[in-house]
């Protein structure tokens, strides 16, 4: 495959909250921070407080995880969070209700982050209608690749929902082109082979991987999996448009004894990550 220019740059959807946010960040030369929270962990009320605090503390985009019983792409931290959320009775419909409630109080871009089966069981059309009406901005399904996603993409795009797909270190160039062509909003780059979870260091081959991905897309590139500390975020500015932090946030929620404490702890983690994003290597040189 040749280095085709990214057609999605002209996509009419690219004027949503996600695209606007990345334009603002780009104008400021600032690395974005995407924060992941499992919805309903430990309750939907707690998630609402945590999301609002995360947004106030500097999270640029928030991924709300729809809990699934068999999260094969996730490590132990998010598996436990999914279990807690399911035990609390969280359903895809209740996560969408949470978005409706959040949308009355914040304009932070919100992405539904799910495995495919819960979306499929609600029905692609019904899910797209409900998610869009609630004020969600995008959808990401971890176990859905572009090849299996044509109905899904059509349903989501028809409701102006961005479809975010993942790229991996194992993806060859021809797949990166396909993934870029199917994505809108941003492209999620998996930093390493493996499941979600905190790690000590960034992979050494990450800069080369990110450069390879950029040959296929003009979309903002968010890097996730193993990004947990301010020092990780501070060096990502030279590599990516945003850092995705998930398990480190979920860890804080797990350690907290109340929703209030969880929100406070997540808030201070997000501030330290965002400080690192602002003071680290600038995006302007890219």
């Amino acid at each position: 495959m040749s280095k085709t220019a990214a057609p999605q740059a002209q996509d009419p959807i690219a004027v949503g909250r996600i695209a606007r946010k990345f334009r603002e960040l780009s104008a400021r030369g600032e690395l974005g921070l995407v924060a992941y929270v499992t919805a309903g962990d430990p309750s939907l009320d707690a998630t609402e407080q945590i999301v609002l605090t995360a947004a106030e503390s500097g999270a640029d985009v928030i991924e709300l995880g729809v809990p699934f019983s068999d999260p094969v792409a996730d490590g132990p931290t998010i598996q436990r969070a999914s279990d807690r959320a399911l035990r609390a009775g969280t359903t895809p419909a209740s996560v969408i209700d949470l978005i409706r409630s959040l949308r009355g109080r914040t304009q932070v871009p919100l992405v539904l982050f799910s495995y495919f089966n819960p979306i499929l069981q609600m029905g692609l059309q019904k899910f797209a209608d409900a998610a869009s009406a609630s004020g969600a901005d995008g959808v990401l399904a971890t176990d859905l690749t572009p090849e299996e996603a044509s109905d899904y993409r059509a349903a989501m795009r028809a409701r102006d929902l961005d479809t975010i797909f993942l790229a991996a270190p194992t993806s060859p160039d021809e797949r990166l082109a396909k993934i870029a062509g199917s994505s809108s909003g941003f492209l999620y780059l998996i930093s390493r082979t493996g499941v979600t979870g905190t790690r000590d260091a960034l992979p050494e081959d990450l800069p080369a991987l990110a450069r390879r991905v950029r040959r296929f897309t003009k979309l903002p590139v968010a890097v996730g999996f193993g990004i947990s500390r301010p020092e990780h975020v501070s060096v990502l500015g030279g590599i990516a448009d945003a850092a995705v932090v998930g398990s480190a946030i979920v860890d804080e929620i797990e350690k907290s004894v109340s929703a209030k404490e969880a929100a406070l702890n997540v808030g201070s983690l997000i501030r330290s990550l965002k400080d690192a994003a602002r003071s680290g290597i600038s995006r302007r040189g890219l």
Partner: protein
């Protein structure tokens, strides 16, 4: 709808791994390139006479193929109906059909330059077969097994360890096969450059359902030739148990184009009809609840699940049938009416194991006992000139702790 043309039956899966609407490839992006590599290497190997020669040698000298097709004279007399033949996969090395696929995939792993294999196991038969093949081919091996299954299949845990395999207990979920597959997939996505995931049933993302079927179709090919030799005609019925469905597909495949051969897959009815008490995905009659098409662990098929798409827990006395989804080719064979599916309770499976032991001198695996139980139910109503082949997919040694409670 069994009027479907044989050429259509022979064409599944399509290039995207679809059996009608079922199958496909629903995995995290990291696994797509390795699955494409597997697909490519499998195609190359399939066209390579040396690959077939090596596999045939291992199947013959190491695993013990061909297995006998035994006329079950006493069971036939005892039931007083159809003439019953037993395909003796229980006589294979390691005690079940599973080794057919493990030898094939083990050779593929070597061909891909992978030094390590990962597997999941429920009853432990696939784990033991993988551990055995890894030892034979000089590969490192890690097997994931739910701790509930480790308790009820302790003998197989010890066999795997003796063979040099690392057995890792899985505590999540219902601590059975589904949870072991999740952990195996997590290991694979992490070590994908060095390890091959040796999946043990006709499940998972394309090309696994096809590869596993193809390595097991020797069961049906042998049985077809053997029954023609002994009876000079095709059987009227094939019986096999269905968890993921590998032994059943292995037997059915060679007969799919023979419109007169009826096929019966037997699922685990467990101890009740409500969700959580059984592992029945395809049996339309009988009032079992909770199965709808959905996506689990890489493939689109019938899945036991809640209304919100959360995967349900299952129950079966046999660990190998205790799984919420069924192979996508079975889902399709069921939809088009080419195969029929039914369910047998824990209790009936135990009784069938006892009957087969006493009447025929064979102690079956509890999985295979489900097929025998349905045979015991139906054979007396069949005509004396009807011919049945039942696949005895495994032997019962591993189940002695469970069976000894019922002696």
């Amino acid at each position: 709808m069994s009027s479907i043309a044989p050429s259509v039956l022979g064409s599944v899966p399509d290039v995207r791994g679809r059996y009608g609407p079922y199958g496909g490839r629903y995995v995290p992006e990291t696994l797509v390139a390795p699955l494409e590599e597997l697909d490519r290497v499998y195609a190359e190997a399939s066209a390579d006479p040396r690959f077939h020669a090596e596999l045939d040698m291992l199947l013959h000298d190491f695993a013990g193929r061909p297995t006998p097709l035994q006329f079950a004279e006493h069971l036939t007399e005892h039931l007083g109906g159809a003439r019953i033949y037993i395909k003796r996969e229980d006589l294979l090395h390691t005690g079940a059909h599973k080794i057919n696929n493990c030898l094939g995939q083990g050779l593929l792993a070597v061909r891909m330059g992978k030094k390590r294999v990962i597997a999941e196991t429920g009853a432990g038969q696939h784990g033991v077969a993988t551990a055995t093949v890894a030892a034979r081919l000089g590969l490192a091996c890690t097997v994931y097994m739910g701790t509930e299954d480790m308790d009820r299949q302790r003998l197989n845990v010890n066999r795997m360890r003796l063979l040099g395999t690392e057995v890792i207990g899985v505590e999540s979920g219902s601590r059975t096969l589904k949870d072991a597959i999740n952990e195996a997939m997590r290991d694979w996505v992490t070590n994908v450059r060095t390890s091959h995931y040796l999946l043990g049933s006709v499940l998972g993302a394309h090309p696994y359902p096809q590869i596993v079927r193809d390595f097991h179709k020797v069961i049906g090919e042998e049985a077809r030739e053997q029954i023609l030799g002994k009876e000079n005609r095709l059987p009227d019925w094939l019986f096999a148990c269905v968890g993921g469905g590998s032994n059943a597909i292995g037997l059915f495949n060679a007969f799919l184009a023979d419109a007169t051969v009826k096929m019966l897959g037997v699922e685990a009815g467990g101890r009740g009809h409500t969700l959580g008490e059984h592992a029945v995905r395809l049996t339309a009659a009988g009032g079992f609840t909770g199965a709808r098409p959905g996506v689990l662990q890489g493939t689109y098929s019938y899945v036991l699940q809640t209304g919100d798409g959360q995967i349900a827990t299952t129950h079966s006395i046999s660990a190998g049938l205790d799984y919420p989804a069924v192979g996508p080719e079975h889902a399709w064979l069921s939809d088009i009416g080419r195969a029929e599916y039914t369910a047998v309770s824990d209790e009936d499976a135990i009784n069938a194991a006892k009957t087969l032991a006493r009447v025929e001198g064979i102690i079956p695996a509890l999985e295979s006992a489900h097929a025998v139980a349905e045979l015991i139910r139906r054979a007396p109503k069949m005509k004396k000139d009807e011919l049945v082949i039942v696949n005895l997919s495994g032997r019962g040694d591993k189940d002695m702790e469970t069976l000894s409670r019922y002696v």
